[in-house]
Assembly symmetry: C2
Homo-oligomer: 309 residues x 2
């Protein structure tokens, strides 16, 4: 039987402008990217989210066709879907948020479907920490692995609630500046150690084009980002990373540090596809043989054979 | 017989201030850091540089005791040694230069000792590109490997001369911002490809706390920096990296891409020691068993075992 992976997060319309072009309102949202990435693995996935009556059936079908259970996605018929619009600068590392319309997200009250209240893994996508916590509270028992993604916005505005949910999780994924903000420590090694004391025993620090670091106890693992000729659109890369990470862990059911290393590589691999086209476009077309080929690239990118006995 | 490695670069007094403290005038200079790092390997090393009459014998003896040939180090008895002073900010990634006194470096005319004109490897440390070129011009024949380090200052002020020497080298080491400045390309993959057309067939891009990338043809290798609790003083880390890199290559005499990967790991390993104390202090005390232990850390930091057939 497949392991159950429960994902909570936004489903959204995104409008994106990069130096390479701009989009109309396209499919976006953390749960969308996480789900599409995780669906590359043989896992029983459910999404908990909320959309408005304006959310196209095509988008829902796209996720259903990936065997993602959407019974936990509330459709507010007379409401509008969460909308985000952003403009990326030339270096692709900085962006301006042009619009954030919460719409139905403002009153989001997540309901976990009964048959996913025993999920082995829960992935709490970036959302208000109280919403993340309420999902955990609905589970029959503590899941075997809880992974949480968050961002500086919640550290600025809901720090107490964030600390409250962080107590109950196993893995946190944040970027380097957020790790520094959360802990007041510049060294990422020291920051990770401080985060351990807040709850999570595993800390994943995302560094964009510089890759990701996985910390656990005194162990560190470093995965590079694949050096790319073009980063076309970074939107959703962090969520895609998280989706590949939890998807691989859910498939294998092995939550050891050694296996998490591999999960980080899968996450980085899927993120490297995500940034090649706008939004979820590339995640919709990527095939397993392409993923396989890129895993080979990650190996040659990082492996060396200095003999140490 | 040991392979000959010829190093040209500054020998200097540095005065450094970091959040952890400040120094009086201490031993510094590119050739010093490169030489100390390279002397960890079984190689016949000579340095070409210039100092003033104020340069202590102790400093010269420190290098001689590492079996570094100093017959190419000119001592200008009535001159003063190059002096640099810098202040590092809290994040250690930015610094203010407080003083740069060229002194005897202003009229530096490097003389390669006759018995090193057949060196197998030449390491051109960061200096005016015309001085770097004049060292190459003195060699009996083209060395088997020429490695050049440079910086944005020469791109701003002596770009033509820089292009003139770059034509004749095999490996360039620069940081990410410098690679972008030199090529006008944001993507480091594209930047490396443009640099190939300028001469070097290998491009090493140093990214400080984010590690280093090695490019050759369509191959890329990525080495992380060791995540450290404290970066005490970054001065000389780039030169130390270069010294470990060329030292290992000189010892092995193998200039293949596969072997250069290992050289990058040795460079990163030595750089990880350099930043632990002020200036060259840690390089003076580091022992081979410590280096060996840290190579193990680099392995566990980067190696994973996803089976790919």
């Amino acid at each position: 039987m497949k392991n159950k992976l429960l994902i909570v997060g936004t489903m959204a319309f995104d409008a994106i402008e990069t130096p390479f072009g701009k989009t109309a309102k396209i499919l976006g949202g953390a749960a969308t990217f996480i789900g599409l990435a995780a669906s590359q693995f043989d896992v029983d996935i459910a999404a908990v989210s909320v959309v408005g009556g304006d959310f196209p059936d095509d988008y829902l079908n796209l996720l259903k066709n990936r065997s993602i259970d959407l019974s936990g996605v509330e459709i507010v018929e007379n409401g509008k879907t969460f909308f985000w619009s952003g403009l990326y600068h030339n270096d692709m590392n900085s962006r301006d948020t042009l619009a954030t319309e919460l719409n139905v997200l403002a009153d989001f009250n997540p309901i976990v479907p009964d048959h996913y209240k025993n999920s082995k893994i829960v992935m709490l996508g970036n959302l208000h920490p109280s919403i993340q916590k309420s999902v955990l509270d609905q589970m029959h028992k503590k899941p075997e692995l809880v992974v949480l993604d968050t961002m500086n916005f919640w550290m600025d505005n809901s720090l107490e609630e964030l600390h409250d949910v962080i107590k109950h999780i196993d893995v946190i994924t944040i970027n380097d500046e957020e790790a520094r903000q959360l802990t007041g420590e510049y060294s990422l090694v020291v920051a990770a150690q401080k985060i351990y004391t807040m709850g999570p025993k595993y800390v994943v620090i995302k560094k964009g084009e510089h890759g990701a670091l996985l910390f656990h106890a005194d162990n560190v693992f470093c995965a590079p980002a694949l050096p790319l000729k073009v980063v076309f659109d970074p939107t959703g890369a962090g969520d895609t990373f998280a989706g590949g990470f939890v998807g691989y862990l859910a498939k294998t059911g092995d939550f050891s540090f050694e296996n998490m290393k591999k999960a980080v590589i899968y996450g980085s691999t899927l993120a490297s596809f995500c940034v090649e086209q706008f939004g979820t476009e590339r995640l919709q077309t990527v095939e397993s043989k392409e993923i396989y080929k890129r895993l080979h690239q990650f190996k040659s990118l990082t492996q060396f054979d200095i003999e140490l006995t």
